[in-house]
């Protein structure tokens, strides 16, 4: 009883905000069980050398961290991850942002058509997308190669070429999420008061400025969501095409941090390493998120 009161004191629970806590309970329970517990377990595992089944776990302290951080491969993969992020940010954040702006603000016709059509691929699984693109982009036999062949062009052997593989895998991922991000941004831009845009148009402000200086800041609440989610996508969703198409190859050229963690855990069964990579990945992106909260959040425009 007294502890209950103590907890209430500590958490500052009163009649007005008690409901706030109550509303959070379902989320907290679920996350505690299915995310935080596993997370602690993983942190724990990162100090062991283990393959998850053998009865003996060897405590190795920080050696896994040392191994991972001294492995040049880690940095190659970090570089790949970064490349994925940059590519996806361009294809999946910048481009749909511009598209959404132009379609909503600039165009008068075919808006509905574009909206529906671009959204369509969102319904297909990335596995299917990966298979399809592997087929369509087959550098020798695919339809695209054949058409290119007519005009004497060759498709690069992307599955086995460093750089290209990341580009193509990013395209596959984008194909699925592009429309979704587009629709989100569209909704957000569409919510901006027309009169504000009209005022800018009346001042003969060039479209690119309207976009950068009015639309972007005013839709930044959704914008930042799409931005962060795109980074997540370049980590997590890229996984499927990597797994289906290239298994991280050639020679890790298409692996990213998550795939690599998967690779370590489920292909070569080095659970400790995998846990370590996961922890490092998380730490890295948490830092990013933290910076976002610290510095970007303040500049996001919220109505309240």
């Amino acid at each position: 009883m007294s502890t209950l009161i103590l907890v209430r004191e500590k958490l500052h629970i009163n009649k007005e905000n008690a409901l706030g806590y109550i509303l959070l309970i379902p989320s907290i329970v679920i996350f505690a069980v299915f995310t935080f517990w596993p997370l602690f377990y993983t942190v724990y595992l990162s100090f062991f050398d283990w393959n998850m089944i053998s009865p003996s776990k060897e405590f190795v302290g920080l050696r896994n961290y040392f191994d991972v951080l001294t492995d040049p491969r880690t940095y190659q993969i970090l570089g790949n991850t970064f490349l994925y992020i940059v590519l996806l940010l361009v294809i999946n954040c910048v481009v749909p942002y511009i598209f959404a702006f132009v379609i909503d603000v600039v165009l008068t016709r075919l808006k509905g058509f574009y909206k529906s059509a671009m959204f369509l691929p969102a319904f297909i699984s990335l596995v299917v997308g990966s298979i399809l693109f592997t087929w369509i982009l087959n550098p020798v036999s695919g339809p695209l190669a054949i058409i290119f062949g007519w005009v004497g062009l060759e498709i690069p052997n992307w599955t086995k070429t460093e750089g290209w593989i990341i580009v193509v895998l990013s395209i596959i991922t984008s194909w699925k999420v592009f429309g979704y991000n587009f629709i989100l941004l569209y909704a957000s831009i569409n919510g901006i008061s027309r009169e504000i845009i009209e005022n800018a148009r009346m001042d003969n402000i060039p479209l690119w400025r309207i976009f950068l200086q009015i639309i972007l800041p005013m839709s930044s609440a959704t914008g930042i969501y799409v931005f962060i989610i795109t980074i997540v996508q370049s980590l997590q969703y890229v996984f499927t095409p990597v797994k289906v198409v290239s298994q991280g190859g050639p020679d890790y050229a298409s692996s990213n941090l998550i795939y690599h963690a998967y690779h370590e855990a489920f292909v070569v069964f080095r659970t400790g390493h995998s846990a370590t990579i996961s922890i490092i990945t998380m730490a890295l992106f948490l830092l990013l998120l933290f910076l976002e909260f610290k510095f970007v959040e303040r500049r996001i425009y919220y109505e309240n």
Binding site: K10, H12, G20, Y21, L24, P26, S27, I30, F31, V33, F34, T35, W37, L39, V106, L107, T108, F113, Y114, S116, A117, M118, L120, P121, A122, F123, I124, S125, V127, V128, L132, W135, P143, I147, Y180, I183, L184, Y186, A187, I192, E198, L207, A221, T222, I224, Y225, I229, V232, L235, Q236, I258, A261, Y262, A265, T281, M282, F285, L286, E303, N304
Partner: protein, 274 residues
Amino acid sequence: MKINRTAEVTWHIIFFAAVILLIFPIVYALGMSFKPLEDAYNNVLNIVPFQSTLENYITLFDTLPVLRITLNTFVIATVATIFKVVTAFLAAYAFVYFDFRGKNILYFVLISTIFIPFTVTMIPNYLIVSEMGLLDTVWGVILPQLADAVGIFLIRQSMKNIPLSLIEVARLDNTGHWKIMKDIVLPLVRPAVTSIGIWFFISTWNEFVWPVLIMKTTDNYTLPLALQMFISVEGGTNFTVAMAVSVVTMIVPLALYLTFQKYIIGTFTSSGIK
């Protein structure tokens, strides 16, 4: 709002190109699902099959209890979606409209989970699900997928853009929180809720890594697992049947989308907040 004609035409060309790029693979998949495999290999350019055949679908329906599997998938996707959207909405509401200690930290912690690699949670969650005796059950597939902070994130962003005065008016009327949620906040964040709902639905619908682990019997399969059954590097993938599965997999979300398209797309344009 008008721009000059050439610019407009240029934009239309760009958008058409984009649409073609985005739609082509779908059309191609559709075409392929009606081709004999032989045709698929040898006539890659004809998107519409020379000789269309239903054989791929027949094979599929012969091999698997497709309806049953579709129903499983539907139940899983629907339950998960509803649950995720509701919890996310409630949490976002708490974060936006209540002031309590540790709010920002809690929010940050929850949001940061979207960066947790699934490799981290997979095995421990398998242990949990197994411990709960939920292996090979719908709930075993659903439960761990519920921990997804993306919804909280998006809905909160959207809620923060509702002018406070609208909530104030309602509060003056002594409108309870539940009613405010239902009648005012929800309609105003409908674009966010709809889009995250669609996203949840589609991603649970298409999820395969997790169900592969949990589901054992064919009767409990979900559609993406059915797809996996036709993919094999060693024996050669039966692309045309795989595409037939893909088409079947696509059909339900697509049908739902098309049915509610007016509403959904309408939602995205019904702004009016400002």
